[in-house]
Symmetry: C2
Subunit: 385 residues, 2 copies
């Protein structure tokens, strides 16, 4: 039974994955909104757009041509945030010098990819069936496997998995020469989330450093394991499945919940039910179960306000180069951070108080989960697929 | 001399105030932008808007009327995120129970204020002179002073300061009965930063808990003091004033810099040069110097892209209820987080990679500072004041 009083009072909730708190103000949704309205996406896109730099056969900004691909297509971002080769830089690090204390820096190298989900310009994950999403997950898995360090604890697992997933007939990328530390797979969907091209795609930024967020999660998960001898997300998934009030959907492999500590109004996380450390740990069956979970989230999101729902999503898993201990601590999950709050045009702004003091949300995660549970019908619009 | 190589290579920078890293990719501004365009604000607002709930003499959403105020006006937010009275709640906290580990919560009480900067509906801080901004700072100071706990280390200071600042003739608010822990003063300016009313105003959320961001900063500053026997922001302000490359503007009391660890494209921080723990520590002269610094930031921002520049800003200072140690550790400063990147219509989105992995910026803080240094001329538009 959900704790009814939390529907009425302002309270903080703790996020054990990041070790930080957020403020929940459930009564605040009564506030009238006179601010910015988002433009709801109008679905008048063509199946093929000759000006799109992601459509098959087209030429990109820097002159390269896309193949006439059938499923997914992966290429190195023409405007990567990190590059494989750059000038050497060794910041001076004297312990007593104030500048080396307060102006700390580290060079970062890496490689950024763009990965299209489909040759069709006008669809989204919500329009695709789980069978059609499967090749996306296979591509992520092959890419992750091919970037693992040679001494990685998951290497044997990766080789076996690679042998079971057919290579993309449209071609695959060669991993970079230098071993990288982390692979962040993420999607920005919709103009509200800074996406500049509606062609369904995600990005994959692979860096020589472990980024802040997965780094924080690993520390918190390791601490929990050390203290309790169990996995944080194992305990959490089990607890949520028992309680039920924040569960949106589940199958044998994955649980979809609005987490206790959700910041974004309809935030969800897909959590592996068993100890999956990274994509390469998934069995053939689990890859399909994961595709189903992603499909359920995307479709329910679109159904909620009958609009193409904007979000940023991202996968957290074991680093590409890591110790046995780090691999063991990792627990595969995927976050979805969607900004819409009340309708297709009114979003939540995470601004002044949220940036300066503490994240604040207006509806409880239990209320959000109840609404998403009720959105499981067929896609509200005619699927474009 | 700035380190030229950092203009070319991808690197991380460390934020000693929060203890976290961000990614800087200076070459990435060459990327074409086909995504969302912000609507540049059109300055066609009337000096008085009969429908505005902040204009003098008007009636607000829940029926209260504003006085015909002359300077600033402070009232309790009609849709507060926290309230003074609410149902009691004592979460169960058994150490062994998985639910009390993973579903942690705390009740939060408090009071939220709205504070208008001027009776004029159509102006902004950039249109006001530092003499006109001074009453805003006086109001902040009186409000902070009146909310301090009776045992607060700054109490005597507060009484002296209160005696020197004239009370607002349009009336002042009574502090709440229960002592609160922290007062967060912040402004959301512009539709891009979730502001729903252009009438110049800020908000003040006062809570029974210490929020995450000032809490993190206090821990980091305390650690630095313990290790080095000096104040982090004292060392930092001195270092930046010597180096010069990130300094935007300064007077005797305050330094305005694009911090080494800036996340937002034109982020700045105003730092007190001497050890000011909170607003009540400011002398009469320093209050005016602070008003000048705020004016310089607001005007330079508007001049940069010749538009009413959106931002969120916020003041960090000593908690309302705190130990001697916490008060001593506090160092008064004000952050400005503006989203615009390239023009009045193209902003930086902090989305997928930033949310899932690590904040990422495209221009260096040194480049941003150089541009803001060159924006010191008179306000580009006819000031509406
Ligand atoms: O209180 P306002 O101005 O209506 O609301 C704005 O600021 C608040 C505090 O940063 C945010 O929680 C809201 O999302 C934003 O729209
Ligand atoms: O690479 P894109 O899609 O052009 O850019 C988008 O995603 C990036 C990664 O989250 C952000 O840094 C950009 O601000 C955003 O516009």
């Amino acid at each position: 039974m959900p704790d009814q009083v939390l529907d009425d009072i302002s309270h903080r909730r703790y996020n054990p994955l990041t070790g930080s708190w957020l403020l929940v103000s459930p009564h605040r949704t009564k506030r009238p909104w006179q601010g910015q309205q988002e433009a709801p996406s109008k679905n008048v896109l063509p199946e093929y757009d000759p000006k799109c730099y992601l459509c098959p056969g087209n030429t990109r900004a820097q002159g390269d041509s896309n193949p006439k691909y059938q499923n997914t297509f992966t290429f190195v971002n023409d405007y990567s945030a990190v590059k494989e080769e750059q000038q050497e830089y060794n910041p001076s690090t004297s312990k007593d010098d104030i500048a080396s204390l307060l102006l700390q820096t580290q060079p970062v190298t890496g490689r950024c990819y763009v990965l299209t989900f489909s040759p069709k310009h006008h669809i989204t994950l919500a329009d695709m069936t789980s069978q059609e999403i499967l090749p996306v997950i296979q591509t992520w898995t092959r890419l992750y496997a091919s970037h693992l360090s040679s001494s990685h604890p998951l290497n044997q697992q990766a080789q076996q998995t690679l042998a079971r997933i057919p290579a993309n007939p449209d071609g695959e990328v060669e991993p970079p020469k230098n071993q990288l530390r982390y692979m962040q797979i993420f999607e920005n969907k919709g103009a509200a989330m800074g996406c500049s091209n509606p062609h369904p795609h995600c990005q994959i930024w692979t860096t020589s450093t472990l980024p802040e967020e997965p780094g924080k999660e690993l520390v918190q998960m390791a601490r929990y394991r050390a203290e309790h001898g169990r996995h944080l997300l194992a305990d959490y998934a089990k607890l949520e499945a028992e309680k039920g009030e924040r569960v949106v959907w589940q199958n044998d492999g994955f649980l979809v919940v609005c987490p206790w500590w959700a910041i974004w109004p309809f935030e969800v996380v897909i959590i592996a039910k068993r100890h999956v450390r990274a994509l390469v740990d998934l069995t053939d069956e689990e890859r399909l179960q994961f595709a189903e979970a992603v499909q359920e989230v995307a479709r329910r999101y679109d159904n909620l306000f009958e609009t193409s729902f904007p979000y940023s999503s991202g996968i957290h898993q074991a680093p590409l180069d890591c110790t046995e201990e780090e691999a063991e601590t990792s627990w595969f999950h995927m976050h979805f951070y969607p900004p819409l709050l009340r309708s297709a045009t009114v979003r939540k702004f995470l601004v002044g108080y949220e940036l300066m003091a503490e994240p604040q949300r207006d509806i409880t995660p239990e209320q959000a989960a109840a609404r998403l549970r009720n959105c499981g019908r067929e896609l509200y619009r005619k699927s474009l697929n």
